[in-house]
């Protein structure tokens, strides 16, 4: 009975926080999410990758990290920042979210509006091109590059 009660409490707690549970599937949103061999950002990475839009099944959760069924055959960990997001229009002071609020929160914050704004501000064209270049060709360092950089620079001691 105690076990059932504990399980129910855990389920209710999970539902209250909106966090996924083991066995659930989440959809990756973030580009460049790291699949690691252990539940931490520093260290060895799995050979596999996950792209935005990929649906991944959670086997185990540990302090914000999820061990995935695949890819990696149950040996790879993905941090919740890969899929967790704010809900556009969610009210900061509580209460129901109306469709109007969702629209207003999203108003102008889309690719189309960004393009329209830049179209009206020719003075930003060079700067925008530079930012786009870094977006396309200057991603965060890969896990292997980070490890090499840290070792070479004698960073992190035992990491």
């Amino acid at each position: 009975m105690t076990g059932i009660h504990a399980a129910l409490c855990a389920l209710l707690l999970q539902a209250g926080t909106g966090a996924p549970a083991a066995g659930q599937t989440v959809t990756v949103k973030r580009e460049g999410a790291r699949l690691m061999k252990a539940p931490r950002f520093f260290g060895a990475a799995c050979g596999a990758t996950v792209a935005p839009g990929a649906a991944v099944k959670i086997v185990e959760l540990q302090k914000g990290w999820a061990r995935l069924a695949a890819p990696g055959g149950g040996a790879c960990w993905l941090h919740e920042t890969a899929w967790s997001d704010r809900k556009a229009g969610e009210l900061s002071q509580g209460g129901a979210t109306s469709s109007r609020d969702v629209e207003l929160a999203g108003r102008g914050f889309s690719e189309a509006e960004e393009a329209r704004y830049k179209g009206e501000h020719a003075e930003l064209s060079a700067a925008s091109a530079a930012v786009e270049a870094h977006l396309a060709r200057g991603p965060e360092a890969t896990p292997a590059e980070v490890t090499r950089f840290m070792v070479d620079g004698q960073l992190g001691g035992a990491r």
């Binding site: 900061s92 109306s98 207003l104 690719e111 009206e120 060709r137 960073l155």
Partner: protein, 303 residues
């Protein structure tokens, strides 16, 4: 904001106030015809305002998701870059590569220290962009776009000091300080923008306003003493997490205190003395030779 939007904003507010006051004949508002507002639009404004008053939306603010922050942040970063002179080094430049490596280590350290109320991670990851400018400056923008001047790269005496500045900017992004002015502005603007919902007249007015507002805050105004000191405190923890020397931040601040600290990175922050006192001054550890050498190589690559 476009010229048309600028013309329409006061009218929208006037329409909103009239509607709130119960004016039924909004189509007769002077100036509406001259500005090309048709009767359908005027009716829509009145209807929107009625609904907003009933729902209580005008008293609440709403959050933005990671995709929205990305599109806004990219535009704010371009605006800030233009204000800094507009010349970024290409991604293939040694300084870009080095900044990316130090920045990624810092960003991962910050990710290890995430808290539930933090902003979602940047949609496409952080971008660390070197900007050709003699000013000593670094600017964290919404969406994880961090601009660093070549003047700052020359001013730091160690990789640890550079990491300290990046950690401060990443802390602002992660804790949501860079989005706070936007979220606050949305609440203030809701009456006007909400009234014009669905009219097709001012769809991107708010976007234009917050791009300017966001650039003003990240570049000039800063995020207030409380947030700046909080970013310093988190930066020190990030440095420790990433394997850098946490004493590098107060050391950098203390060294550039005084006349050399005017403008740029320092102008929008509390006095360096106050920041150093909050962090607690300590003597930085000697920087290992490989770290010293790679910073020197990058600085030598700058024109």
């Amino acid at each position: 904001m476009s010229p048309r939007a600028l013309r329409l904003a006061p009218l929208a507010l006037a329409l909103a106030l009239l509607a709130a006051a119960g004016c039924a004949q909004l189509k007769n508002v002077p100036g509406a015809d001259l500005l090309g507002i048709n009767e359908e639009t005027v009716k829509k404004v009145g209807a929107n305002l009625g609904e907003m008053a009933v729902s209580g939306e005008v008293t609440k603010s709403a959050s933005f998701d990671m995709a929205q922050e990305h599109h806004l942040g990219k535009t704010v970063a371009a605006s800030v870059l233009a204000r800094l002179g507009g010349k970024a080094l290409p991604p293939e430049h040694p300084a870009s590569r080095y900044l990316r490596q130090v920045g990624t280590v810092v960003a991962l350290g910050a990710a290890e220290l995430r808290e539930p109320d933090d902003r979602p991670a940047p949609l496409k990851g952080y971008r660390f962009i070197p900007v050709e400018s003699e000013a000593v400056n670094a600017v964290g923008n919404p969406g994880g776009f961090v601009l660093v001047t070549t003047g700052l790269l020359r001013a730091v005496r160690s990789e640890d000091e550079l990491a300290a500045v990046l950690a401060h900017e990443v802390a602002h992004v992660q804790r949501g300080h860079t989005m706070q002015p936007v979220e606050a502005a949305r609440k203030q603007e809701q009456l006007t923008s909400g009234a014009l919902e669905g009219t097709g007249e001012l769809v991107h007015a708010f976007f234009g306003k917050v791009v300017t507002l966001g650039a003003d805050f990240v570049l000039d105004k800063g995020f207030g003493k409380k947030n700046e000191l909080a970013a310093d405190a988190l930066a020190a923890r990030i440095l420790g997490e990433a394997g850098y020397d946490p004493a590098a931040l107060p050391a950098f601040l203390a060294r550039l205190e005084g006349p050399s600290a005017r403008g740029g990175f320092f102008s929008r922050h509390p006095p360096a003395k106050e920041r150093v006192a909050a962090l607690g001054a300590s003597t930085p550890a000697p920087v290992p030779e490989p770290r010293r050498a790679r910073l020197a190589t990058v600085v030598a690559s700058l024109r």
